[in-house]
């Protein structure tokens, strides 16, 4: 990376695309800076033709002129990886936004790039290798404490081959740029290693032994997801939905409650206000498992809709690269990208400027392969030290017109392991989370017995078709057995699949409670009721529903919980439709 900076000059400007003529050579995806007055605007080479390179500029291009100087840096677009990433808020290019605000106040300033990590902060390094040990890229050299996590300091991922440890720092405080080890390669050349390393965002980190099949369910504490359309640790899923269906709220719930070590939120091209809510909430919410605030396990990559478009394109890569870094230490990382459609649109804008032949809805022909290769960076891996680490990716999709037939949704569905389709009808009916239980699917297994779930889904389907029929023939024309099936389906939906995000207890249900409650649900769905007329049947289920909703907000296994369970069990046995005083 020590080669000299090479120069070029601007010969064309079209929106955020700049064409530059270069002298010697240029590298695809190399970072370049366009010089405008005293500002240097970061850009990336995205196409080379003859002696001209097309650059996507990550900033507003006002004022760039023909002949403006371009500096090619000879480095790919990279992020800094090291201790101190957790709890931070970055933009798509890994600029720390709080420090940018300290420097420039309310507005973002173009051409201003700050170091992602704090170079002055000291970390206590504990070595875990000895002199003469043989190490390879991604192997642990030592560790520092980052909040509750043991943050591994690893052999840089770009070191190829085997290395012998010649020197290793002793246990004490170091700054991240201090040399903590010297490694000798096979040719005898000695390399210095610090606690920070750079890695190009568009290349996956593969310093692990092998990729494994994701099988263990990832507990999200959202009942409809965990039970009907589960996610696996190291798996992928997508959440498409029209506006107002609650994509972002659902993602926030997942980021708060999912049982993982580290959460990375990529707010990609969406409302700034939504990120602000996370920023205000997370430092005050305590993770029940670690007793630390949620912010301590979270990294936010925030490139909201009014920030430069090209940086939006790179923000998802920035996020997934950080996820890979923490996976390499053996953590379970959860990456939430909201919304991948905005990322795809950024690609479309660029493709249009490059005058590429468009595919469907003017998205570029490589849309599918880009989406696929992004989701493929998820996965459960076995590291060389035998431990495992994982990245689970959940992407929100914002389909145009709420129509799932559009290219981004379709390309995503091909590569993900679970599909959580949000429906406008469910959202309008205030049935939250608005995941459509009939349309959605998952290839992963739940922690609840498959057969039990299959039965419940069958009731849902049957109930739904009875409901459709009732719209035509009316309630009078429906057989009581069918009517009860319909009521059962509605009951299951309203007390189990729907969850009240404003209720402290109900907003998150752990695996144990889900399994426990599902048994009672099963009992009710299986029970053959004999009611005297439809009105009685409806009243019975209304009462049962009311009892369940109370039960849902009782703390698990508390005395109220037990008491309410007794009331419900009595109700199931009695088939009594008399009003019960609550």
């Amino acid at each position: 990376m020590s080669e000299q900076i090479r120069l070029g000059e601007v010969v064309g400007v079209n929106g955020n695309m700049v064409v530059a003529r270069f002298d010697e050579k240029v590298m695809q995806n190399e970072v370049a800076y366009v010089v405008v007055g005293n500002e240097k605007l970061k850009a990336e080479v995205i196409r080379v033709r003859g002696d001209k390179a097309d650059l996507q500029v990550f900033e507003d291009t006002v004022g760039i002129r023909i002949g403006s100087k371009v500096e090619f840096t000879n480095a790919l677009l990279s992020v800094e990886l090291g201790p101190g990433l957790l709890g931070q808020i970055f933009d798509g290019l890994q600029n720390p936004l709080p420090r940018l605000a300290e420097k420039h106040g309310f507005f973002l300033k173009r051409g201003e790039y700050l170091e992602a990590l704090d170079y002055a902060k000291e970390w206590e390094f504990t070595p875990s290798v000895k002199v003469n040990d043989i190490v390879r890229s991604g192997d642990k050299l030592g560790e520092v404490d980052e909040f509750i996590f043991k943050h591994s300091i690893m052999v840089p991922f770009n070191f190829q081959g085997k290395f012998e440890v010649v020197e290793i720092a002793s246990k004490r405080n170091y700054k991240i740029k201090d040399v903590i080890a010297k490694l000798k390669d096979e040719e005898g050349k000695v390399h210095s290693v610090t606690m920070v390393q750079n890695w190009p965002v568009k290349i996956a980190i593969k310093a692990y032994a092998e990729k494994l099949q994701p099988e263990v369910p990832l507990v999200t504490k959202i009942r409809i997801i965990d039970t009907l359309v589960p996610v696996a640790v190291g798996g992928t899923f997508c959440t498409p939905g029209p506006f107002g269906a609650g994509k972002t709220v659902l993602q926030h719930l997942l980021s708060r409650h999912a049982e993982v070590d580290i959460v990375i939120i990529a707010a990609c091209g969406e409302r700034a206000g939504e990120v602000v809510e996370i920023l205000e909430e997370f430092p005050h919410l305590v993770d029940p498992r670690t007793k630390r605030t949620l912010m301590d396990r979270t990294i936010i990559i925030c490139n909201t809709s009014s920030m430069p478009v090209a940086a939006r394109e790179s923000s998802v890569y920035t996020a997934v690269t950080m996820a890979e870094y923490y996976r390499q230490m053996g953590f379970n990382v959860f990456l939430l990208a909201d919304s991948t459609s905005r990322w795809a649109q950024a690609m479309r804008e660029m493709s249009g400027r490059l005058e590429e032949i468009p595919g469907e809805e003017a998205f570029p022909a490589y849309l599918e392969s880009r989406i696929a290769s992004f989701y493929e960076r998820a996965g459960l891996v076995r590291l060389r030290n035998g431990k495992t680490g994982s990245i689970t990716i959940g992407g929100a999709v914002s389909p145009a017109g709420g129509n799932f037939e559009e290219p981004v949704t379709q390309a995503t569905l091909k590569v993900v392991g679970a599909f959580h389709g949000l429906s406008r009808d469910r959202a309008n009916a205030r049935r939250y989370p608005a995941v459509d239980p009939l349309e959605s699917w998952s290839k992963y297994k739940s922690f609840i017995d498959q057969n039990k779930i299959a039965k419940a889904i069958k009731t849902l389907h049957k109930g739904h078709s009875v409901e459709q029929m009732m719209k035509v023939v009316g309630e009078e024309g429906t057989a009581i057995e069918d009517f009860i099936t319909y009521l059962k389906g509605e009951f299951f939906d309203s007390v189990y699949l729907q969850q009240n995000a404003f209720d402290k207890t109900d907003e998150a249900t752990n695996a144990e409670r889900q399994s426990y409650v599902f048994n009672t649900i099963e009992k009710i769905l299986d029970n053959e009721f004999n009611f005297d007329g439809k009105d009685n049947a409806r009243r019975y289920f209304q009462q049962l529903r009311q009892m369940f909703i109370t039960w849902n907000s009782n703390e698990f296994m508390s005395s109220e919980f037990k008491k309410q369970e007794g009331i419900i069990n009595d109700k199931i046995k009695s088939e009594n439709v008399e009003e019960i005083k609550l």
Partner: protein, 431 residues
């Protein structure tokens, strides 16, 4: 001395091409034609070729007209002198007042740093129950009114502006009919609020390119005043015209269209404007209320669709009233717990009853028999529509809440309304 170029090599739509040197992207130029001087903006550089969109349109430009580059991007004057004034999209006075050149600021400035934003917390009272009670408008919110041609969206916009307690109103009119322009002007005059109003108006007969500048002009001025501590309300009508202008220019520039002819960056274009809505910590704020007419009343049309993904909710104006269903203020939860203790409960129950009423209407139209309960619901619906939904109703929220209690108590038993007892005790009207 600045160089003057007199070789226009291409005129396509409102875009002209000249060969020139040392020109910055998005900077301005003056085109001198026999009809007068027009501003033009650089929208593409390709070697020596400079593409300019001419603000007043290309009609009457000849290939040897003179082009002089001004070496700076579009700017707008921003000072107290703007108050009460009316300008075109390019910032020239539309009233008979003097041209303003003091304190020029650039338009389309950078985005606010997300970490400097704060969670909105202050309600804007409008006197319209369908807004105040059911979907409260919040300071720094960006909210469109989804409507169709023929609906009274402009009167609604003007009325909200007149009643909202704000320091400054900025109207950005795009493709306005001349009568609508006069309507806004006269309304502001009649209410004596012209002195706290600034208008940037592009009428339907003005050149397309000026339409594109209106939101940026309005929002740049708003941003300036907000930073000086003012509470600013920006009204944009009609954003669909703005999008259509974007489409027109994109097609002229031979860009590949994405959806129904609109350019692929429609979302980003809209977002960069709407996201200007902000509450500056310790200073002023910008609230954006916009009109989006939906071609063919189709919410999946690219303009309302992209808008919905950006804004914090939407009001549907249909049949002369704000629809309770579909209308949504995403920020209402942040303020409606601080108005009156019964606000949330009343809001939820009234809407649920109204939904039941609509269902009953449907049942009735299908010929099903009406039960006693159905008749109560029909009663309820009628009163809801006349006493709350009608746009002529103009009352503070407290009074609207009282009306709700009155309607409920006239029609239903206390036990049937499903509101918790403590609230019933406090608010149920004594007979």
């Amino acid at each position: 001395m600045q160089k003057v170029y007199s070789q226009i090599s291409q005129i396509v739509g409102d875009v002209i091409t000249v060969e020139a040197e040392d020109v910055g992207y998005r900077e301005l130029a003056e085109v001198r034609t026999p009809q007068g001087i027009s501003l033009a903006q650089v929208i593409r550089l390709d070697g020596k070729k400079v593409y300019l969109q001419v603000l007043t349109g290309s009609r009457g430009i000849s290939t040897n007209d003179k082009v002089r580059f001004l070496k700076h991007p579009m700017k707008v004057s921003c000072s107290e002198n703007l108050k009460g004034r009316i300008f075109t999209g390019s910032g020239t006075p539309r009233d008979n007042g003097p041209e303003l050149t003091d304190n020029l600021i650039a338009i389309g400035g950078p985005s606010v740093n997300p970490v400097k934003r704060i969670v909105p917390h202050e309600m804007i009272r409008t006197g319209i129950p369908m807004i105040d009670l059911f979907n409260s408008l919040v300071v720094s919110q960006k909210l469109p009114i989804f409507s169709v041609a023929g609906e009274p969206y402009n009167p609604l916009l003007a009325r909200i502006a007149m009643q909202a307690e704000v320091d400054l109103i900025i109207l950005g009119g795009m493709g306005l009919k001349y009568d609508d322009y006069l309507f806004f002007k006269n309304t502001f005059e009649k209410h004596g609020s012209l002195s706290k109003t600034i208008m940037f108006v592009h009428t339907a007969s003005d050149p397309t390119v000026e339409c594109l500048l209106v939101p940026d002009m309005a929002l740049a001025v708003a941003e300036q005043f907000a930073q000086e501590g003012k509470k600013v309300l920006v009204l944009l009508t009609d954003m669909t015209n703005f999008c259509d202008s974007l489409k027109e220019i994109a097609i002229t520039m031979e860009q590949i269209p994405s959806n129904r002819g609109y350019p692929g960056d429609l979302y980003s274009q809209l977002a960069s404007r709407y996201e200007k809505a902000v509450d500056f910590k310790g200073s002023g704020s910008i609230t954006v209320l916009a009109v989006t007419t939906m071609p063919g009343d189709d919410v999946t049309h690219p303009v309302p669709d992209n808008t919905g993904y950006i804004t914090e909710g939407q009001f549907y104006l249909r049949g002369g009233h704000i629809e309770p269903f579909g209308s949504l203020s995403r920020l209402k939860q942040k303020v409606n717990d601080r108005t009156r203790s019964d606000h949330r409960a009343i809001m939820d129950r009234m809407i649920q009853f109204f939904a039941d009423y609509r269902e009953t209407l449907e049942k009735r139209s299908l010929g099903f028999r009406m039960s006693a309960w159905d008749n109560k619901l029909l009663d309820f619906g009628k009163r809801f529509e006349t006493e709350l939904m009608d746009l002529s109703v103009n009352i503070p929220i407290e009074q609207a809440l009282d009306i709700c209690w009155k309607i409920l108590s006239d029609i239903f038993e206390p036990a049937a309304v499903g509101i918790k007892e403590s609230l019933l005790k406090e608010y149920w009207p004594k007979k």
